[in-house]
């Protein structure tokens, strides 16, 4: 045991705890963070809902300003983003409610339904927008 004392303990390789640069992010971490980000985003999107309702209440002239902005490519991009945030938060929210009832807690289940929620949110958002453009008459299906 005496020879071990010759190694300076301060220079011995120390155990390394998970480090951000080498840490493998579980997909459940991504769904959790995205849930929070989309939640805050939707809180801000409530301002657009208020703007839409107020524009409708103030009359056709004011409403035209809203539809012009919403119909611009950038407006459409923002609205597409809000749609995805809503669909994602909705689907992942159901996942959270299922946890509250005790379902889907096992790590492999939580990981696989994370991937399902992410994929489904993209698919549903695209389908919603295809239907929207179809209703609008800009798209022939």
């Amino acid at each position: 045991m005496a020879d071990k004392q010759t190694v300076n303990p301060a220079l011995r390789p120390r155990p390394v705890s998970p480090h951000l640069q080498i840490y493998r992010w579980p997909v459940t971490m991504a769904t959790s963070i995205v849930h929070r980000v989309t939640g805050v985003g939707l809180s801000l999107a409530a301002i657009i809902l208020a703007w839409w309702l107020l524009s409708a209440a103030l009359g056709p002239g004011t409403y035209d300003v809203f539809t012009d902005v919403a119909g611009h490519w950038f407006g459409q991009l923002v609205l597409f983003g809000i749609t995805w945030a809503l669909v994602y938060h909705f689907l992942n929210g159901i996942r959270h409610l299922m946890w509250d009832f005790g379902y889907g807690f096992a790590v492999p289940t939580a990981a696989s339904n994370s991937i399902i929620v992410i994929s489904l949110s993209v698919v549903v958002t695209i389908v919603v927008w295809i239907l929207g453009y179809w209703v609008k008459g800009d798209l022939a299906l």
């Binding site: 409530a46 409708a56 209440a57 409403y63 669909v87 929210g93 409610l97 919603v128």
Partner: protein
């Protein structure tokens, strides 16, 4: 130290967050379906939609329940990243901002209906 922190009112917050999210499931399906159905609709059609009793009530419910859910969610974010006195101030700002947005929404709906 209290002042609305989660440690003394956490259970109530948890229950209200779950209750509002449960109620928002059908309301979210309704708003997405309605907005798709009214894509490209003119002013008259949108006014007709919002003055229709069922859709008007659903929109009011979405505004009230959605914004309350939003208050609860933003509160958690503030409590996670800020400490007093910023936390206390931001929790008040959170309520004021949501009440303002809610007031505009409800004023608009009321103006359309009455």
């Amino acid at each position: 130290m209290s002042g609305g922190s989660s440690h003394d009112r956490g259970t109530g917050h948890f229950v209200r967050e779950r209750l509002t999210s449960f109620l928002l499931i059908p309301l979210t399906v309704w708003i997405i379906a309605t907005l798709v159905a009214y894509a490209g609709a003119d002013h008259a059609a949108v006014v007709a939609l919002l003055t229709d009793p069922i859709n008007g009530i659903l929109m009011t419910a979405l505004v009230v329940i959605g914004l309350y859910h939003s208050v609860l969610g933003v509160q958690v974010v503030v409590e996670d990243y800020f400490f007093d006195p910023q936390r206390r101030a931001l929790l008040i700002v959170n309520w004021i901002a949501h009440l303002l947005v809610g007031a505009v929404c409800l004023y608009a709906i009321a103006r359309l209906v009455f």
